[in-house]
Symmetry: C2
Subunit: 314 residues, 2 copies
């Protein structure tokens, strides 16, 4: 954890947000957004995904975005990849962190990447091997994502034992970090607290674990609080709540970055992120949205009277 | 607590919701809404407020509403009153529970009811005396509300010691129940957990305590979860998130009843409330809204696949 930071904010809007809307952002607009949000103090930004351009034309320029953002001081650029091929491209482009996501639900994984969970785990191992094969890649962090960890739109409830099995599989294959996702907004705070508590027992309480929540049923920030209670100190969110999952019918909206930062800062947890800076970044993002809806409450309500963010009080 | 119920849902839309919108509901529409929501299993409904009709014409028919809903089986009708005069009217009309709200913030109490906190406490004592003066009123519960317990739009941060002082003042004067309100949506989950923990230490862990949260800054349901963790088992909410506080500039929206019930039921806490029934009640309410905005996520997303509410599993 960076000095003076209690909780890491991982902005996923430029990937998760953009992939779920029709509007294709100009590359320059993405870079402007990412620069502005990094300047607001966001330490991790998921700048895109290395997937076939035919599948997600919105993210076809991820290589260019990575190249253009390399010089941003202090920013960890993360990218998502569906398989080894994507990971190779991501490493070549210069991403700092490569995340492969495996759906804990077999049916969802098949639908998402046309592979069994075991095949995706095998792919994950090959990604780690590829990173290890080139000393130039030594600093690249490989993250293992666990999608549908709280339920699946195809098969319904997901057994926590399956989440633990996939988590162990990822760690055994060299994952340096896990990202546990409520891909379709099914999770509730009790479930969240229990699952992360069990996960830390499984992989060790010091293992870096992030959480990715959706606000589909209004429980996104309640789930963040529950995960905090369980010890999680890294969260994905999307500026203005942009995004969802194109493979999960009915899933609408990541949790809202600025609302989450307000939650954390108001609780006395330092994120190092400026709320004013996020509002500025949101304005830049919205200029290119072409009317796509955004979400959030902080943008309308502003801070409470007398509010001092933890990062400023420190 | 009623048998088979873990958490009490207190619908405040017909009071808190309606008082903050311009549309004046026909009395019959209110009654229809209340009947439908009671039929959905909501055990407590705040059906109105006994305030001068000139101040809140939207609630001028509260007496008629109370009279018309007396026969609803199992429903506890609550009403809000600003002072003794309102309480007298409420008791005469036949309300089951009378709530007087005192703002912990002196400035807010002055702005709201033109009284000091001490004067409002004196008034509370007179309300209890009035109830005790007539054996016909013996079953009426007197509830003490603590507004602005988590911050105030006029004076900013509120000292928890002041909340405890007002809470003790209310209990000493005969309050049988406390309702702690984040009137303007300033509270965060850490603060909520701490305040309720301290409150139970102050008034005793078995003292009936309800919580009233606003979703002004998106933390409403996170605050519900935090309060649950502290032991609170009764929550105010407003169907479709209708409402706010006319005296608190910028305050928008109670937490959404149906989203809160989804939160509770998904966590395994039985409310006895049917989500389908709430959706039906919301439809009735919306018919008369004249385009006033409503909120909520459950109404759009519906239940997760395979979801079994705790009340049905039991």
């Amino acid at each position: 954890m960076t000095d003076g930071i209690d909780v890491l904010v991982h902005e996923v809007g430029p990937r998760d947000g953009l992939q779920s809307i029709q509007t294709i952002f100009p590359t320059e607009a993405k870079i402007d957004w990412i620069r502005t949000e990094a300047a607001a103090g966001v330490p991790l930004i998921q700048v895109g995904s290395f997937v076939p351009p035919k599948l997600l034309p919105q993210l076809a320029d991820t290589g260019e975005v990575v190249a253009a953002c390399k010089d941003i001081d202090g920013l960890t650029m993360t990218v998502l990849v569906p398989n080894l091929k994507g990971a190779e491209n991501g490493m070549k482009a210069g991403a700092h962190m490569i995340g492969q996501v495996i759906s804990v639900s077999e049916a969802h994984n098949q639908s998402n990447v046309r592979r069994s969970v075991q095949e995706s785990l095998d792919d994950f191992a090959r990604i780690v091997e590829h990173r290890d094969s080139d000393p130039a890649y030594a600093d690249i962090v490989i993250s293992g994502g666990l999608a549908t960890s709280f339920g699946c739109t195809i098969s319904g409830p997901v057994d926590p034992a399956d989440v633990m099995r996939v988590a162990e599989g990822l760690v055994e294959r060299g994952a340096q970090r896990l990202s546990v996702a409520d891909t379709v907004g099914y999770g509730n705070p009790g479930q969240v607290k229990d699952l992360f508590t069990e996960l830390y027992r499984t992989v060790g309480e010091d293992f870096p674990v992030g959480a990715h929540f959706h606000d589909t049923r209004g429980l996104g920030l309640a789930n963040v609080y529950a995960a905090l209670e369980a010890g999680v100190r890294e969260f994905d969110a999307s500026l203005g709540g942009l995004g969802g999952c194109p493979y999960a019918p009915g899933a609408t909206g990541n949790i809202v970055t600025e609302d989450m930062v307000f939650l954390l800062e108001s609780m006395g947890l330092r994120t190092g992120v400026s709320l004013d800076g996020l509002v500025a970044a949101r304005e830049i993002m919205e200029r290119h949205l072409g009317g796509e809806p955004t979400h959030g409450t902080y943008i309308t309500a502003g801070p409470p009277k007398g509010f001092v963010p933890a990062s400023k009080a420190a």
